[in-house]
């Protein structure tokens, strides 16, 4: 009997994972210019729902630039021009000018923790409050849920009212993740979220990412090949603003089709 239940569960899981491997973000022929300088060339990617997609490549190849097109953070920079098409859930994100709605749906975690000089609670509640949620009970519940979701509730539950800047780097980064989760996004973008962390904190964040993928579509930039191999389902290799190769992570790391990909993942350059 117990066997059967587990089997059913296993079958269910199977179905869920195949059913969910549908497109979340479709990027078609994307080009991006910083003024005269082109930084992205004909990028096309099909990013799957509830998977972790890793973006790898040498410094300056356009990973961050690409990531920031997905929540239109590049709009903040003067002189940026974008051509091509990005749809999320079938909606063209550059068609409407409602970046607010886009950014609540597509959250972002940065390389270095950028918590505000406020309490832990206020940091996590910041986004929801700006959306107009004022009810204390609702906020309390949301803050707890988000901190649990970022696997940091137990560490901070007794000092929610103290400054968030007093936490360790790894804890701060997980609060940043909690802050993003509090917006109930579909997609979470992460730009080298562990590059400023020690190995133990890094491992914690990686574990967290692996857990989070059942609820979110995650796109992560990383310089760390092992990290990409450990946590991602798909990997895109960027070089000079182009996507050289995009495939299942185990393919990229074991039998890449392009010589340049192989050279990069085996550490021969970059």
């Amino acid at each position: 009997m117990v066997m059967m239940v587990t089997e059913v569960a296993a079958v269910n899981k199977q179905q869920v994972s195949t059913a969910s491997a549908q497109s979340k973000i479709l990027v078609d022929d994307l080009n991006l210019f910083y003024g005269e300088k082109q930084a992205l060339f004909n990028v096309s990617l099909d990013i799957k729902e509830k998977e972790v997609t890793a973006l790898i490549g040498p410094s300056g190849c356009g990973k961050s630039t690409f990531l920031r097109t997905l929540n239109r953070m590049n709009d903040l920079i003067d002189g940026v021009r974008v051509s091509g098409n990005i749809t999320i859930d079938g909606e063209d994100i550059y068609a409407s000018n409602d970046v607010i709605k886009l950014r609540t749906k597509v959250g972002m975690v940065f390389q270095k923790s950028n918590l505000f000089p406020m309490s832990i609670y206020d940091n996590v509640a910041y986004g929801p409050r700006m959306q107009g949620i004022k009810n204390r009970k609702v906020l309390d519940a949301l803050v707890e849920e988000s901190l649990r979701g970022a696997a940091i509730w137990d560490e901070v539950k007794d000092r929610l009212k103290t400054s968030a800047l007093g936490l360790s780097g790894g804890q701060q980064q997980r609060i940043c993740i909690a802050r993003t989760i509090a917006m109930k996004p579909d997609v979470i973008l992460m730009d080298e979220p562990t590059s400023a962390l020690d190995p133990i904190s890094t491992l914690k964040v990686e574990e967290l990412i692996t857990q989070m993928k059942k609820d979110y579509t995650i796109v992560i930039v990383t310089h760390n090949m092992q990290q990409a191999a450990r946590i991602s389902d798909k990997t895109a290799f960027f070089l000079n603003g182009e996507v050289v190769e995009y495939d299942d992570t185990n393919v990229i790391f074991s039998t890449p089709k392009d010589q340049r990909t192989e050279d990069y993942v085996t550490g021969r350059f970059g």
């Binding site: 929540n71 953070m73 903040l76 003067d78 607010i100 709605k101 886009l102 950014r103 609540t104 959250g107 972002m108 940065f110 270095k112 950028n114 918590l115 505000f116 000089p117 406020m118 206020d122 509640a125 910041y126 986004g127 409050r129 700006m130 959306q131 940043c176 802050r179 993003t180 917006m183």
Partner: protein
């Protein structure tokens, strides 16, 4: 050798700190030594009598009026201007010119502002010699100070705060109000405190726009005399240094009180319910 250099540097740093503090203490000490015996309830709360003696209450009131009116006008305009220049304006030639102009304005001697105030506010706008004419003139004097310090304060707010807030789906205005201004508050505050000092220290410009009437002002449209102008005039008329020193003590207390309340208000603002 390195050790000797280090010690020398340390001695110089310590020496400079000592000299600055010593000067401050000497001045304050001298004021108290000369003026403290003049201070009494009647001196502070009594009306002025031109025959000699009498209190300085009308001047205290006038001084506080000018400070508050100038700050109430200059602070919001100055902060908004700085926010516009730093956060909204396209950084180009025009902004550079505005910035250069504000910087130059801080260097103009105040007598020039006083003359302008006398011509424009007193005569052209027909405000007459009055507290309001003086306050408007002072507003123009401190406006560049507030714009400059606020801009400097905005520059110190990390760009990552802006990005972090905007990435959470907030508007530019929300980000400004909830994250950027609170982080810039200490700098803005120091601009306001500098301005208070500038207003209190001003004599020429006030002399030309508010006049020297040593009586309790009926309203902000009355001509009146501030403490600084008063201390100048009594020293000149009677040569009584002690009286001027006593006025100095009162001024120091007023400045301290205003600075403390500015700090308190900005702390309140900073803890605004998010």
């Amino acid at each position: 050798m390195r050790q000797a250099k280090d010690n020398l540097l340390r001695a110089m740093l310590w020496g400079s700190a000592f000299v600055s503090v010593a000067i401050l203490f000497t001045i304050v000490g001298y004021l108290f030594y000369k003026g403290f015996s003049y201070i009494s309830f009647d001196f502070i709360f009594g009306d002025y009598s031109p025959i000699g003696g009498g209190g300085i209450f009308p001047m205290i009131v006038t001084t506080i009026y000018t400070i508050l009116i100038s700050l109430i006008i200059a602070t919001p305009i100055g902060i908004l201007a700085a926010v516009y220049l730093h956060e909204y304006a396209k950084q180009g030639r025009l902004v550079r010119i505005i910035r250069y102009a504000t910087e130059s304005l801080t260097g103009i001697p105040s007598i020039i502002y006083g003359l302008f105030g006398a011509v424009f506010f007193v005569a052209t706008l027909k405000l007459g010699m009055s507290i309001i004419a003086a306050s408007l003139t002072l507003t123009i004097i401190v406006l560049p100070v507030i714009i400059r310090t606020t801009e400097e304060a905005l520059k110190t707010v990390p760009a990552s705060y802006r990005e972090g807030s905007l990435a959470l789906g907030t508007t530019k205005l929300q980000t400004l109000y909830k994250v950027i201004l609170p982080s810039a508050m200490p700098g803005i505050l120091s601009g306001i405190i500098l301005s208070i000092g500038r207003i209190v220290g001003e004599s020429a410009a006030i002399f030309l726009t508010a006049g020297t009437v040593a009586a309790m002002p009926d309203s902000i449209f009355s001509s009146a005399r501030t403490l600084t102008v008063h201390s100048y005039l009594v020293t000149q008329e009677s040569g009584d240094i002690g009286l001027a020193a006593a006025i100095g003590i009162v001024l120091i207390v007023i400045i301290l009180a205003l600075n403390l309340s500015a700090t308190y208000i900005s702390k309140k603002f900073n803890k605004a319910d998010y």
